[in-house]
Amino acid sequence: MFRPRHAFSTILPAVLLALAGCGDDDAGGEYVPPADCSVVLRPGASAQTQVQEALIGAASGDTVCFAPGTFAFSEEISLSVDGVKLRGAGMTGANATVFDFKAQTAGAQGMDITGDDFVMEDIAVKNTRGDGVRVTAATGVTFRRVRVSWDAPDGTPDAALSTNGAYALYPVESTDVLVEGCEIVGAADAGVYVGQSRNVIVRNNIARKNVAGIEIENCIDADVYGNEAYDNTAGLLIFDLPNLVTIPNGRTTRVHDNDVYENNRRNFAAVGIIGLVPDGIGIMILAGNDVEIDANDVRDNGTTAVLVVSYESLISLAKESRPAPPYDTWNETLHIHDNTFTNNGRSPSANALVQVVIAATQPDVATPVLEDILYDGYANPDHAGMDDKRLCIRGNTTQTFINFDAADVATKFIDGGTAEVVISRDLAPHDCTHPAHAPVVIAP
């Protein structure tokens, strides 16, 4: 979006020579900058000014390299130039490049990126006051081997606290988004959050100790695969939320070949929709359109492997207000197939809504075990009988299933009204398939 008028690249040798003398690096004495670094920055007392000036002065095509050690920032760092790569020396280990925002006094996030064709790799980001790295309205976003975490007040690393930032990696309203090889620990909302974006790949990341490990929200065309999500409240979320403008309704997400286990952490989100998510969830779909969930290994999640809820459930069970058009509350064209579900649902959440579902569906069971797939039963009446809109479930290793009839559960158990709850564990209405998704491709 923004191209500076001058070409920093033409004066690279001078910059390299001069900046090499700056600061007092506290680690990585053997660091040899990659040959294609346009500029090399080293930790030091003036990191804030040094780094911010370098990012303002960068030119399209520059690679800004960061030596090992801790860059202590006092304010948000921003980048608006297109085509800039930020490259550290590693996201973990003795030679890691660490951006530490512990002393941050300004800025709603650690880093605020608006340039197109942004790349950030091999950097650890810690202790941001709010969100970790936000990228807004960019075309071309790559996070590669970026670690985001928060320390406890006593300095213990990797703490999961409600005072942590909400989102760790936060690309929003962007196109061609790639998040790979990253590790996110302790986000108070979602570790990797991709919102209102198009053409998204989130692969081979580790997300743990977050409320939501990875969340795809109101996106169009997203692939989520090869990730390891564990010890979160919920591992992977595919959400469409209401009242948004840029992408009011998302569609076409595939979630496959992920390792999603032991997501039993008590929800520590402040409030909001995310605060309603029960612990013990492997994968959750909210108001999804054309979502394919396949070949995942989902195990040891205490409440369920896959929770499928329409926004209608949030209205009837959680008393959210009814969103205005064009928001589409319904789940449609979901396809859950060929997953491995092991040992899920054996210690259901104490969350009030989960307990209502248990009370409604297995009232007399001493130690209830919930099904692999929990489905609220809401289906768009305008699309009744349309095969291409169905919830299809086929070919999972085990696939215990319940349609828990949320509408009548709400009437009877929440509103105190009269209703007959008609639960069903019959998979026959869902024994179908949808066409497989084509892979998302991001042009180099």
Binding site: F2, Q52, T114, V172, G195, A270
Partner: protein, 367 residues
């Protein structure tokens, strides 16, 4: 080409001095010097003011103005000016932002009065920001005044310092002042779009200003100067903004509050603005209650949600995220994100009253 290279080399030296040297602004080039991007390195080189500019008396052709509903900036006083290139005009519009000719310069100086209770007391200039309409679009820069108040120099990477000042009651306040870096200029003035002015348009300038010979309507004054490409409609036909703190008791709280939100929030909270992902739009023209935040759950708030569920709960400001964020001084909670660090009592009052006066609605009836 040689000339360009030498100015480039100078810029590198300046940049490097800054890179190693902490927070001091880079040294100014000799008078009339420009940096590699074509920006004069000193404010003086713009030739906007009489003398060294400390008195903020503009030279002929530089016209002062003041918006009806101003952006709150931690109680700083602001001096605003407009300069058009000779022989050019603004494309006037009643509703939309005016279209300014290339080489228009918009100027805003931030200052603190030595004693706000005494109009005759002097003031300390902090920075002078410039929006410059260049051939390929608007561009932004700020110039930070020196302690001696004799010169202001171009400052790219911003500057943060603690300063003491007297408030309207004469009490000493000590706050952090943040001169924005040029990226932060873009955060408000560009959002997701191209950079541009926010304030000077019909509804914001359709009020009286004393140019030295008594109050005059600013739009009419600019028209008389020949600044417009057409004759604006008569004043009665124009829809002026309202000063949120106007003494006019006939102005409703809602109109005051909406005028405040327009000036203080809508530069981000609009389509294409920085806060576009939130779906909360606070512009003057917005009518959809959900867009305005009525019973609207934010998609992405984190601690910024203040532990509350809805942007605005009609009748209940204390349950409204919008009010909570305006009242906060924590960086990850506070709104607006940039431009001020302290909560604005006047703005809070009008917004609180607006929400409190709404017919109560139970956004989420309890089960």
């Amino acid at each position: 080409m040689l000339r360009r290279l030498s100015s480039l080399a100078l810029a590198v030296l300046v940049a490097l001095a800054g890179a190693c040297g902490g927070d001091d602004p880079p040294p100014a080039a000799p008078d009339g010097g420009v940096d590699a991007n074509g920006w004069p390195t000193t404010l003086a080189a713009w030739g906007l003011f009489e003398g060294d500019g400390h008195t903020q008396v503009p030279v002929a052709g530089v016209v002062p103005y003041a918006p009806v509903s101003p952006l709150f900036s931690d109680y700083a006083a602001k001096h605003r000016f407009l300069r058009l290139p000779p022989g050019t005009t603004i494309t006037y519009d009643d509703e939309a932002m005016w279209t300014y000719p290339v080489d228009t310069v918009l100027v805003k100086t931030f200052a603190y009065a030595d004693d706000p209770r005494d109009p005759a007391s002097g003031e300390r200039l902090i920075e002078t920001r410039i929006l410059w309409h260049r051939a390929d679009g608007w561009d932004a820069m700020t110039y930070v005044w020196n302690d001696a108040q004799t010169e202001a120099v171009r400052t790219i990477a911003g500057k943060t310092f603690t300063h003491a000042w007297l408030d309207a009651e004469g009490a000493t306040r000590e706050t952090v002042y943040r001169v924005p870096n040029t990226n932060q200029c873009r955060t408000c003035h560009a959002g997701e779009d191209v950079l541009g002015p926010l304030g000077p348009r019909t509804r914001q300038l359709d009020s009286d200003f004393d140019y030295g010979s008594g109050p005059e309507n600013q739009v009419d004054h600019l028209a008389a100067l020949g600044f417009f490409d057409r004759t604006p409609p008569p004043r009665a036909m124009r829809l002026a903004m309202i000063d949120p703190e106007t003494a006019d008791a006939s102005v409703t709280t809602e109109v005051r509050a909406r005028a405040y939100l327009e000036a203080n929030c809508a530069h981000c909270h609009r389509a294409g603005g920085r806060a576009s992902p939130s779906g909360l739009y606070l512009g003057w023209e917005v009518t959809d209650p959900t867009r305005l935040g009525i019973c609207k759950t934010p998609p992405a708030a984190g601690r910024g949600s203040c532990g509350l569920m809805f942007d605005i709960v009609p009748g209940d400001p204390d349950k409204s995220i919008l009010f909570c964020r305006m009242a906060s001084e924590e960086p990850e909670i506070r709104m607006p994100e940039l431009g001020s660090v302290i909560a604005h009592e006047g703005g809070l009052e009008v917004v609180r009253q607006w929400i409190a006066e709404m017919d109560p609605v139970d956004c989420a009836p309890a089960p």
